[in-house]
Symmetry: D3
Subunit: 233 residues, 6 copies
């Protein structure tokens, strides 16, 4: 089985971090490749950035289809392009926000999302609502650290830990989803510090797409996600 | 006051039709210009088409800001890019699906949308849900005519009329929104044939943006719709 | 075009304040008249007050139809009588709570309402819910000042400003709707103090009704809002 | 215990029918009186009719408080004035739509409402939604018989029965609420004809108000339903 | 009329307390018996405890049918087994959480639940949501006292009172439901201390079941709540 | 990795069918065992049957913990006991209704469930609603075949196929979930007959639990799903 993980932003160091985490999670025999489009924004921090990366994501997915990948993960927490990608893909496509929500809802009756900047919380809340998890996902919090500063900023992990502890206390969160692919390396440390399940969407996404493929499931081509129509000129 | 209407697809004849209808609706003293990006799909019939037109729409909006337009209408029924456009725009931005829903909800307690192809109904239902009109908008029906065939297909208007009559009977619709900018010239005829208010999103959108501007209102720049962040390189 | 604004309470000074703000907002060529019924409560602060003013509002609307007004605004934040008025009216009818919500939802993904007394917040929340804006309108706050004290009470504007600032911080509000027609003169000052869009329902209502009329739209007479039935005696 | 049933319309024969049914249902020792305001519409068939009866209903309730009634039932299916009445009442107040919904939700997981005219279904759906029963109450159907024709029209009961059978088949209704106080005498016959519980809001309302009083419960005067404020003149 | 109250846990002293309160509330002529299954958990504090008591509850209900009870109350705040009981019961069945919610929603537009342990709040919130009261029931709070310590713990009542006062202030609660059958003896004291209606589900449940029986209503046997199917062996 | 599948009913032939399908779906190295409790109902067709099987399911899960299984699937479409099981389990627990819904929501924007008897549809709809998939899962249909007749009844598969085709046409379903573990062997045939993804909850459940385990995720023990409390005697 071959799974393609697409990091929508063009920051190669982040793609590497995602690749590492994605590769570790799958079953023997499953191959995971991680790519990013060449000329998208270096981070996705709002609707505009997402819009500027979507056609790049679609290019990667189109190449993926030629190379016969069995399934796809969109590794940005705003799940950029998952619906358009589904029109192109034969196998299943999941975003990491979506995957994180699916996983969390099985593990805890009440959880929260911890993301980067306040400006993206409304977008994430909108996704939560559209996916139907707005009852269980009781808050979307931002630690106010830009995506690319997650690594540069020395105390990022402590700020995230403290915000998770606050969320446990104030939101009664029983699990927490990390709301950015750039936090993917903090899972174990945060879990030991906070004693609640910490869900990383990249791991969840790769494993769940693998699961869907293994269960023999593919994107429905019956109507909405049928191949894009060829236009009369 | 200057309003810019952006037709996301690249079919110039449709832009002209939209322009005609948009211009007729505004107050004296309000100037409306209608444009389309040069190289987007010739019609928007799904998530993929929408994705392929969004950066073109953003280009037009950016030019609009330079030319100091007071407000914007996105004249495609999937409201492509309204959130990303709001990050760029100073004045209000509305999509024609959104505008149609706002208008219909004031005129009737129960209404429906009549659109082109079955493949876009799930997307429109998603918009209806996100905007909060899912209780009043009781159905999204498709007449199964591709966008560009609306003009070529001789009996399109009769099919639309019959579908509206069916919706009045079966859905108890008390008003109907036309779910495609290409149907904008059929309003009067359909209204006289069906005796319910027929709402065209283009007219509704232009007039409502004009209203918001006149009421002194602008897009909030407080957080979500603030200018896109400049990325460190 | 002629628009009639009906202030449901009988406080003439408030009617004058509303009239001033309503008149300033419309396009050239649009005439706005503002009236109040003669013997309704002096302020509407609860369901009972609203009930005691509704037949007076209907009297004014009936007179408005005789005088051939094109549309109507009900200028009280509990939108008293908008559904019963729609049975009498040919043109569109909007309440100022409704209009404020429509406007705010275009400008910001998350906003709040700032009203007068705690006793009316449940009623307003109910309207927000019925109109479908309960996801975007994240809180309804009361400054605990009775309607008629808004002018008498020297520091009303400062209390309102402080409450808005608190709402921006705690509710992450990106725009705020003023929840009383008596606050209509505070818009500019509050906007400059708080740096978020401040939405006044009167301005929004007058401009949106004007927009609907200009777009050629009328109340649906198909079923629910048909003329009241004449009763057999 | 003394319960006051208020029929909002001024048709005395209907008040008598309601009184008969209400009196039969209560425990020994409970006294029920049924009244109607003198000059309201002869039937309530829309928002306008409801608005024209609300102040009459409030007059009766005010008299009821002087006479120290323990609880109140508003015997019209649009529950006219229940919120304003609660500001005046010490004891509990229920509408018959509300009471029917509460009762039905205990008896069946899925039920419908059978009312008179199509023009009132949107209003009833709105009540169902506000009360929170929109998931269990899967349809509101109208037999298209005006309120006052329920008795005059010879085959009304057969039309209602047939519509109930259709609702069982098409809506999978497992119980049916009669959506008009004028249908109150048809319960037994309809139940034997259709074999599902038929719920009459008048009986349900009187018994449930009796239950609330017996349980020692009163309308909360903490905030929203506090006494109407006395206005400064 | 004979009503059977089933306390799902096996703590006899709690059964006695429930019996006392249930008996006081009904009309003359109504007989109430209170029982508990012999070998269920001594308190129900989670999904597991509830599961371990459900077949015991069903045994008691089955005996109740043989003895021809007219209706049933399940006197545990997680409403264990109400749906399975309805398959066995001829008359109406209510849980005390359900009954408390029905009662509260008539008395106040906004109320909360005060329960024992944090671990049961998610379960109660789920019930609130399924019954459709999630809009009016704005919070479920826990005082963090185990069920069986309610009596042993000297200051339980003061902790509950303080939590109610906090809920009035922070949640704007206008009524409060006691979220445990073991709090049933505190109603009067809490009501006098807090000045809002305090709703005990046992009283509410017994009175409402009595009301439904008096109104001639029974559990629908049309489909979902039909007798359990006899299995082929 | 070891996964335990628990068939709540005591029909061994069905357990075997489930085991076959479960075993085929997992990755190399994953061991799946399928068991059923010894004395539960032979099929689960309602709330009562579910209640009568839950303590048996919990017994199997308890044994599973002793044997150190990594995750659990409850293989009955009413997801009996998933919350109580989570209090006992260290690893993740999923029901097959839940798993089917998660999978379907990734593959299609609009899908339906095809189950056995009409009496279980309300229960399934309730699960759909609680899990948050009520917007995408647009209908729950029953073919009216008892569980144990699925194999005995010669034309069961044709009835199911025809019902799926009807659902595609009338509900616009783009994927269909099989609503009974006993249909698990029909997937390929139905998929080739109907051309939409057919989702079997057993396969989906086993693969998704495997995915969650592989992603390092466990049931949160923070509060709601903590070990059941030991009771004072």
């Amino acid at each position: 089985m071959k799974i393609l993980v697409i990091n929508p932003n063009s920051t190669v160091s982040m793609t590497r971090k995602i690749a590492k985490c994605a590769t570790e999670s799958v079953a023997e025999g499953t191959v995971v490749h991680t790519v990013n489009p060449p000329s998208t924004p270096t981070s996705i921090e709002g609707y505009y950035d997402a819009a500027m990366s979507e056609s790049g994501v679609l290019d990667e997915l189109r190449k993926g289809e030629v190379a016969r990948y069995d399934g796809y993960v969109i590794a940005c927490f705003d799940d950029v392009g998952i619906d358009s990608c589904r029109e192109l893909a034969t196998g299943p496509v999941m975003g990491i926000c979506e995957a994180g929500l699916h996983a969390a809802s099985v593990l805890a009756p009440r959880f929260t999302i911890m993301t980067t900047l306040p400006r993206v919380t409304a977008h994430i809340e909108d996704l939560v609502f559209r996916y139907g998890f707005n009852r269980k996902c009781v808050n979307v919090r931002a630690v106010d650290i830009p995506v690319l500063d997650l690594e540069r900023c020395g105390n990022a992990r402590h700020k995230i830990r403290d915000a998770i502890k606050q969320s446990i206390k104030e939101d009664h969160a029983e699990a927490v989803i990390l709301g950015c692919a750039g936090m993917t390396d903090l899972v174990s440390w945060l879990e030991s510090e906070t004693q609640v399940p910490i869900i990383d969407g990249v791991r969840a996404g790769v494993c769940m797409v693998e699961a869907l493929v293994r269960a023999g499931l593919r994107t429905s081509k019956a109507c909405t996600y049928a191949e894009p129509r060829v236009k009369p000129q």
